[in-house]
């Protein structure tokens, strides 16, 4: 334990899927904030770089009982098994081009270090990591809008959502300037959060009970009784994480009142969901 870890933050997010309208503001705000490139054909979603991707889910029923929900998916900033910081991607990178910041809980990606082996992409079940198959090119003059806060990437490296780390840095700079030891909740908000016109995204410190994200998620600091790999399970019965059972321990939570949506967040054997749904999110409550 070092000094920095004692007051460690654990930045996380909760997305209200009932409020999400699938409008795409978060995606574009992210692209614009983080100098994400674009190319002529982006309709192959498997080679289209969108740090924030909005998935469309349906309940699989036929007309007119069909339902749709949109699910925005940034990098989940996994804490890894037992929340020890060994995220699926971090532990596999051969060149330490991605690491887990124990002071923030944010998984980094360093473009100048990455040499493009793509092992991290294979390891990530959320497809949150994107490869620069092409050298990014902006139409003549358009590179003038690039932000100096995020380095533009080169061909052949992996990139992904950083929870707008540069905004955290800017907030800290301001705090240093003001002689404050820490930043306020509203000083560090990701670009997707601030852009969301529906206010569906709430971002903050999961370690800070005063933060809204903590109020909604109510993360359980103890490992789940039925799966010691899972830590930080929500005690809110409407809150779930994607593929929680794998033990990746994402810091992105989702909120929905609709049961089928919550069920879609993970994989269940036949009949399994019905057994656990009522305890879902609250199984370690007592």
């Amino acid at each position: 334990m070092n000094k920095e870890n004692i007051k460690a933050h654990k930045f996380g997010m909760v997305i209200d899927l009932d409020k999400c309208t699938g409008c795409g503001s978060c995606m574009v705000s992210c692209m614009s904030e983080n100098n994400v490139p674009f190319k002529e054909d982006e309709s192959n979603k498997k080679d289209s770089i969108t740090w924030m991707r909005v998935y469309k889910l349906t309940n699989g029923k036929s007309f007119p009982d069909t339902e749709i929900v949109y699910l925005p998916r940034p990098c989940q900033h996994c804490g890894g098994k037992g929340d020890h910081g060994h995220s699926p991607c971090v532990s596999v990178c051969p060149a330490t081009a991605t690491d887990y910041g124990y002071d923030t809980g944010i998984v980094s990606q360093i473009y100048t270090r990455c040499f493009g082996c793509r092992y991290c992409m294979g390891a990530c079940p959320y497809h949150a990591r994107y490869f620069n198959w092409w050298d990014p090119k902006w139409p003549e003059g358009m590179e003038k809008y690039l932000s100096p806060n995020v380095s533009p990437r080169m061909r052949g490296v992996v990139e992904k959502c950083s929870f707008c780390y540069h905004r955290y840095q800017a907030a800290r700079d301001k705090a240093y300037y003001d002689g404050r030891e820490d930043i306020e909740e509203n000083e560090y908000q990701t670009a997707c959060t601030t852009a969301c016109p529906a206010g569906a995204i709430v971002f903050g410190d999961l370690n800070n009970p005063a933060h809204r994200v903590h109020e909604i998620v109510k993360p359980d600091p103890h490992p789940a009784s039925n799966n010691p790999n899972v830590v930080g399970k929500s005690r809110n019965p409407n809150v779930f994480r994607l593929l929680e059972r794998l033990g990746t321990n994402p810091k992105v939570y989702y909120l929905s009142e609709r049961e089928w949506v919550r069920k879609a967040g993970d994989n269940y054997l036949e009949g399994e969901w019905d057994k656990i749904k009522n305890h879902h999110g609250s199984e370690s409550h007592g």
Partner: protein, 416 residues
């Protein structure tokens, strides 16, 4: 024309004939090199890989050549450490095949990465927790070992051997080869294993993930074991092909039988372990993560249970059984079937552990992702094969690869 270079007492085809053969295969090499150039110059967009298929045909080829190249370390281990002396008659060839496989693997890795000029960062900025780091280190070291093992054979060339220094060097290197063989076996154990580990540690991918011993998932041991088991099959297969092409018997049957037998028992033990692993994974590991194993073999146009059955039964159990039973093992046709099935089996295993992993959706709302390689990928994957053929042709022509060749072909000097 080049008769001065040809080993004494060996019969080789005429140089023009040889040259034509090399030129034909060389054209394939050029095609591959052209594709490689395209990929280096224009980038990986020349492939059909995508963000779902970060690992694709090349990584499979990489794992497959390393697996079948496992014959080198295992034969070396048997010959030098366990002193199975008969194997000296095939060890040179095993080493050459290993050399080809490993140099190909390194070449493929150099094409596969997005920033090839930064490839050495894997050493310079190594993350010791990554299985890939382990792979890179052991792979490179073992390639060096293979090179050292290969050198004495090169120095035995008729002209090279005339130089006293080379002659003695070759002699002395043979003397210390046990040390290298041991090192090689050790290194191989780790990189074959860590290649298995590459898949096994991906706990975000239920199809790949395995529990294990300490930091090593079971796939680590299975990969090592399977390389040792099937590597010799490949050595035997290539020997058989070389014999067919040259029209000569190059290795005595007792050597072949011995290696087949060892391989057979290795395969059988491996496949038992693999079956246990599969059953445990299918009944304990993945259900715990919410998956029924049918999830991995249905709802798509390619991957079905057939691949599991083919890998384990058809290309695992069957060749194993053929090779452990004396009667079937010593039947040349059955033996050939067994070693071909074995090689297919291990390649299929590597395919499954690379490509099928990538194809399977993990998020409940995602779909299967199938992929067809681009011609550039195919060309660069064929490149090592063509290069291997050329290297075998050249070494066979100019080096005394098979110690028993002269003895076996003494009576009737035949040109092919």
């Amino acid at each position: 024309m080049d008769s001065a270079l040809i080993p004494e007492g060996a019969n080789r085809c005429s140089f023009p004939k040889f040259a034509v053969g090399i030129a034909i295969v060389g054209a394939v090499v050029l095609w591959g090199v052209y594709a490689m150039g395209l990929i280096w110059w224009k980038g990986l967009n020349q492939t059909n890989m995508n963000d779902y298929y970060g690992f694709a045909l090349w990584i499979w080829a990489d794992l497959a050549v390393i697996a079948v190249g496992g014959g080198a370390f295992f034969t070396g281990l048997l010959k030098y450490i366990f002193k199975v002396d008969e194997l000296k008659n095939i060890i040179n060839f095993a080493v050459i095949i290993g050399f080809i496989c490993y140099s190909s693997a390194l070449l493929i890795l150099a094409i596969d990465i997005g920033q090839p000029l930064r490839g050495w960062f894997i050493f310079w900025h190594a993350n010791v927790h990554s299985m890939l780091t382990e792979v890179a280190f052991c792979l490179s070291c073992y390639f060096a070992v293979l090179t050292i093992e290969f050198i004495p054979n090169i120095l035995e060339n008729r002209q090279a051997n005339k130089v006293p220094f080379f002659h003695h060097l070759a002699h002395n290197m043979h003397g210390v080869m046990a040390v290298f063989a041991a090192t090689g076996a050790f290194l191989s154990f780790f990189h074959q294993g860590s290649l298995g580990g590459v898949a096994g540690v991906m706990y975000g991918r239920p199809f790949a993930v395995r529990e294990g011993l300490l930091i090593w998932p079971w796939t680590f041991f299975l990969f090592t074991w399977s390389a040792a088991a099937f590597g010799p099959c490949f050595t035997l297969l290539v020997t058989r092909i070389t014999e067919a092409v040259t029209g000569k018997k190059l290795v005595k049957d007792n050597v072949v039988h011995l290696l087949s037998k060892i391989s057979g028992w290795m395969i059988i033990t491996y496949i038992i372990a693999k079956i246990i692993d599969t059953i445990y994974w299918a009944t304990v590991t993945v259900p715990g993560l919410g998956f029924n194993i049918s999830h991995f073999y249905s709802n798509n146009g390619f991957y079905g249970y057939w691949i599991l059955v083919t890998e384990i039964l058809v290309c695992g159990v069957i060749p194993g059984l053929i090779l452990i039973m004396k009667s079937t093992r010593e039947n040349p046709t059955l033996r050939l079937i067994a070693i071909v099935l074995g090689v297919i089996g291990v390649c299929l295993n590597r395919w499954v552990m690379v490509l099928q992993i990538m194809a399977i959706p993990v998020l409940s709302f995602d779909t299967w992702a199938l992929y067809v390689p681009s011609w550039q990928e195919v060309a660069t994957t064929v490149l090592p094969v063509a290069y291997g053929i050329i290297l075998i042709a050249v070494t066979y022509r100019y080096l005394p690869v098979f110690p028993q060749e002269k003895e076996l072909n003494r009576t009737k000097p035949v040109t092919e």
